[in-house]
Structures are given as structure tokens and as C-alpha cells.
Amino acid sequence: MNDIGSSTNSEVTLALTGVSKVFPGVVALDKVDFSLHSHEIVGLVGENGAGKSTLMKIMIGVSQPDEGTISRDGILISPKDPSDAIRHGIGMVFQEGTLVPNLSIMRNLFLCHEPGFQKLGFLSRRAMREAASRLMEEVKVSADVETSISDVSPAERQMVEIARLLWLSRLYGQKHPVLILDEPTTVLNDGERTILFDILRNIKKEASVILISHRLQEIVENTDRIVVLKDGKNVTELPSANARISEIEQLMVGHTFSADRYREDEQTPAGAEEVLRVENLGRRGAFEPISFVIRKGEIVSLVGLVGSGKEEVCRCINGLENADTGAVFLKGKKLLMGSPNGAVRAGVGHIPIDRRNDGLALGMSVAENVNLLVMNRLKVWGFVSPPRERKNAKVWVEECRIKTPSLGTMCANLSGGNQQKTVIAKWLSSKVSLLILDHPTRGVDVGAKEEIFRLIRKLAREGIAMLIMSDTLEEDIGLSNRMLIMKDGRFVKEMACPPGKKPGPRDIIDAIV
């Protein structure tokens, strides 16, 4: 393994050997080996449920392995918790972020470690300021260190977290800090992404980085070596320099991908019946009045950058926000504005972007989540019937291919892809006529993505109208019948996407920016 990648001449700084971890009902990790050299960026890839997060959690001491060892610069360690791990120079930047929003950058940087700045028993603000400014320079953050975290961009927050981890490693005298970044780019725009990777390359002089991402493109471009996990086992590792994305995908999923991943050949033309009619819908400060129509079985993609107003348009249609002007009609009936209840009753479904917080009752079972919207249909003589509940849940769990040990399994125990399928199942069982999909494949692995695409096509065939906002332009183009492009709160262009004659991303980018 030593001859792999560009890190041939550096020694192994972190090594996990034969690590296993078993959770009730699942073997999360099965004798996994992982090594990280100093001054190296390693990409860790695998489907949801492949064991990436469990492996990370073991490294930072959130969970302990059932078997196997962890060694740091040749010495065995067993981190008890994240604060113990950081003493060994291992730290993680979480997907959700772990900073305190109402404290300043400086306070967050040195949180819980302020005593180092004490002079005569009082904290020296000046010493803290100086140290913080130096750190912020390293990660190219120009904001004043007294700015409160809630006022800085997601990109800068991430930089602050990285700087904090670097500083802590130095504080504990670690020569080769290990930074773990879990999906760092999901919240970033293109420019910020470039800056992040510039900084990571710069940090490489001092530290090693483990990068987890579903965006294989950025993994290939920015890492030295790629480690592939599948079903809790090592599959392979390969140097990034000559890795091909299709090859990695194949390794992750275990089978080859169909060239037609968006199932274009299954795309059906829009029906004649009008399902959604938006008339002059506008919201001051968010988007200017817009009108459009979605027909039966039609997939319409709303395309635009962050701030283009597309999110707000959707939020007005499903009642989460109230519009200032205009009206929304579903199958000819005017929707009550500003009321999710009204929208849901009329038949508007909504797959939210943040499924964990907005889409599911995580502490409740799969069956309870699937049945949420249809309680009234599961009644016999006015009372909810448990056999009907089970039956309905079973039908939709099978229909959406939710992988769960049982109907009573708590949703918190499912993988991201299966949680997403549970959210979809919930709406499908309620027989919606319009489904708004807000980034349906965000944070979902390749295999689950395919299943979600399959479901979307099936829904279109069954006549459900869909309004989609996607993670990538490619996905928008591939899935939709028609695209509505928005820019700076204005509707700018409509494009047809018939199968076989899809426009390329380049045709659209000009309109977006």
C-alpha cells in the first residue's frame, strides 16, 4: 500500500487496523483497515450505510470499536470522546457545524480553552484577538474576529471550525493533526468551494485531511488517494490521479451504472389536464410576480442560483410562506395561501430539503411516519385500525423499497437514503396530485439516488405533477420535461427537455448567471 499516491515518502500518522463495530441488527464495520499518511488528503467514499460515518465516529471517539486498534504515529490510542480525540490531534468538521451561533468568531475559536489567555487571572482580550486574527489569516477569512458566528457565511464558519481544530492540535503539541471533513461542500457555492480546497491544499503542509463527499468529482480532483467502503468492508483504494468517476461509482455500488441514469427513456409527455396554475404569484423582496402551469404527469424543474427566488416560490406554493400578490390553483381550485394545512388538504406534497428535521418524526417508527397523512383513511367505524395501519405501511415500504428491519423500526435508525424514501412514501400514500421535491437526492448515495429517480419516473407515469429543485444542473436536465429558469427573483426563460433532445448544461448556465 505504501507505493500508492503522492505520499510515498511520508510515514503513516493514523492507522486503524481490523476495526469492527456492530449495531443492533447491522454490522456497520467489518474488519476495516484504514491508514492516513502525514501531509495527505484522503477521500473516503461509499454509499450511505457503507460505514463511513461509523468509521469517523470511531476516530473522534464518539463511538468505540468492538474490535480492532487505532494507532497514532505508531502508538496505540483509544479516544473516549471528541475532546480526548482532539488531544491526540484528531478533529472533525461536522456536516451541521458545531459552532455557537451567538458568540463571536474569536470566542468560538478558543471556546473552553480560554485559560491559555489569562493574565493575572483575567482573560486578555488583546492576546486572544491577536491569536484569532493570525488564525483567520491562515484560513483566509477576512471578517473581523469579533463578528458573531450567526453573521458569517457557511463557508467562513467552516473555515473557523478548521482553524479551531488546527489551533487545538498545536495547543496539545500534535505535529501531524488529522482533520476530518464530512460533506464540507454541500453548503458552499462554487467560489467558496474553490477557496476551501485551496486552503486544504495549503493546510496539507501541516496536517492530513480525510474528506467525505458524495460529489465524486471534487474527491477525484482534490485528494491524493481514495478509499472505497462498501457494506462496512474495505473494497479498495486507489490513487486519485488516474481515478475515473464511473469506476469509483461502480466500486461503491458493486454493479455498473446504466448510462441512462435519469431513466430518460421512461420519460412520459405531459398530460392535457392542468394540475397546478400559478398566477402572478409574487413576494416582495424575494421574487417578482411569476405565472406558470404544470400539467398532469409533468416534471418541471425550477432552476436558479441561491437567491434566485426559486425556494421562495416553492414555499409560497406549499403554504410555508404567504405571498403578497397572485394566486395558486390546484386542479382549478384556489389554494388558501400561507397555510401548509390548506396546501396539504388540497393535495400538494412537499419533500423538504432537511428531511431529518422537517420531514420525519425521527423518534417514531417507520410505519407511524408513513401513515401520518392518511390516518383518516385507515379508520374503521371512526377509529384508526391497527391492521389497516400495518397494511398501508407495508404496501408503501415495499413500493418505495425502504430497507428497514421492521415496520416498527425507529426512523432515526435508518440510513439517509431510506429516511428520504420514507418521506416520499409518506406523501405518496396520501395520493397527492402535486409533489414539490426540494433537493430530493441531497446527501443521498448513488444507489439510493437511482431508486429515487426510479420512483420519480413512476410517479410521473401515474400522473402526479412534480416541481423539482435539484442539487445539480445535470439532474435538473435529466429528470424534467421542462425547466423554468429564475435569476435575481425574476423568471427569465423556459426550456423544454424532451427525451433524446435534452439541452446541455452550457445552454442553461448563461441564463442563470
Partner: protein, 331 residues
Amino acid sequence: MTEKKTAVAGEGPGTAAARRGRLRIPTLSYAVALLFLVGLVFSLGNGNFITGYNLSTIISYAVLLLLVGLGQMCAILVGGIDLSVGGVMSFVSVSFVIVVQVIGYWAYPLFILVGILVGYLNGILLTRIRIPSFIATLGTGGIFMSLAMIVAPVPVNVPTPKWGYLDIFNGTFLGISNVIFIGLLVFLLYFAILRFTAVGRNIYYVGSNIKMSWMSGINIARTRNFAFILSGTGAALAGIMVSAVQYGCNPYVGSSYILPSIAAVVVGGTALTGGTGGAFNTLFGALIMSVLQNGMNVVGVDQYFQQSILGMMIIVSVALTFDRSKTPVIK
């Protein structure tokens, strides 16, 4: 590997409970086991504990706790708390004693209605005026407590000629005290509402994830109002019962039920964070609390020391029955 797998799978009460579905048997089984253990200790400690007379005392207190606890449970399940149960109990019990002498049996529906209205008021304060339930019910609880004092500054009694109106609670049927039937009836009512009605189910959804519930079109205000109505009703029923079995009462009676009502809910295994738990949990919680309180008297534990034992037992029993795996953050 497979051996290991089964070993781990058997360990976590939470995950096993989750797999078996809504009844959450393992959590409950801890509560049941605890009840038997506590009962056994007291029976061995003093022969009088298990006598018929003493058992009826235990049951009587347990049913009172059950009535107020079932209501409290609904408020907790929906993600709130109801501190007004004490005030409501006091107000209802003294007013009931006075009014039952005048209007007879009509006093029963009248004061159940009072409970419903107070619960609705609590709900409105939370859902319309947006005051957290902890504060809102602390306020209404205080108001009703003082109303109780104004209505009856001293203990009031039902005169002997009117005792017939209270036979509903004091009679027996097939040799079993009516109190048990009443407790069972109310228990079944709450169980059925939570388990078999859409609005009851919504209480769980709202308590579990309020934002998701809102986005899914659940009427949050109506669900919360309903949960607090159930809570007010439970407190009113307990207020009626406490007067009926004693043929009178003092205006302070409710204040000693606020914390025990919460304890009965939590000891049974319902999470204070909302969304998990149920009527069966509260049934056993009420029984445990009642057996404890009575048993300590029978065995002869010092009055002042009882409070600390009760406090310790709450901590121990919650440690056993509370399903931590369902709540990522313990507040």
C-alpha cells in the same frame, strides 16, 4: 460475528422497544417489574401491607393519581406541561362539594365541563397568545388555586342527607369498589383516544417533531388545545373524585398533586421531551407512586424521610424506565 450480533441486539431496551412497535413493551416491563418489586418489599416488611383494607387505600390513591396523571401525560406527550392541574383540582373539588348539594347529579357533567374549559383556556394561552405552557399553566394554576380559597376558605363537607349523590364513587359493583371501574373507564378512554383517533395520534406527531407536523398540514393549534383539554379534564375528574370519596375536602388538596402527577407520568416511562410514552406507562407510574407512598407509611418510615426516599425512587425508576434511545438530547 453472528454471536456478537445477537448479543448486542438483545442489550438495548430502546432499540428492542422500537422494533416491537408502539406498545414499547420493554420500557413498560421495567415499570411492571419495579411495581412488583416495590410491592414485594413492602409485603415482606409488614404483614398489614397486603390486607384488603390497605389495598383499597392504595387503589384509591392510585386512581386519583391515574386520573390527573393521564391528563398530565397528554400535555407532556404534545411537548408541553400542565402545572395548573393542582389549581384545577382544588377549585373543582371545593366547588363540587358546594354545588352538588344544590343541583345533585348535574354537578358531575358541569365540573367535567369546567375541566374541559380550563384545559381549553390553557391551550389558547399557548397556541394563540403563544405563552409557553410551563408559564401559562403556572399562571392559570395560581388563579384557580386562589379561586378555590375564595370559594371555600375552610374545608367544606357534604352533609349526610346528600351523600347519595356520591354513591357513584363510594359504591361497589360485584364486590369491587366503583373507584376501580371509574379508573379503568377513564384509562380506556384515554388509551383509545391516543391509540385509535387521528387527533390522538397527532399528539404524538406534534410532540415528536412540531415543525414537520406543521409542514405536513397537521393543525398544530387544534392538537395542542386538545391535549390540554384532556389534561384539564383529567384534573377535574380527580377533583370530583377526591371530594366524593372523602365527602368533602379542603381547598389545598390539589397542590399536593402537581408534582406527583408529573412523577407518575415520568416514572411510567413517558419522556418529558414529548412524543413517546402512553396510557399504559402512566397506569403503572401511578401504581408505583401509590404503592411507594402507602408502603412507606405502613412499614413505618419517618414522615420527613419519606420525601427523600420518594425523590430517590423517582430518579431510580426513571433511570430504569425512561427510554433514552428515543431522545438524542436529555434536557
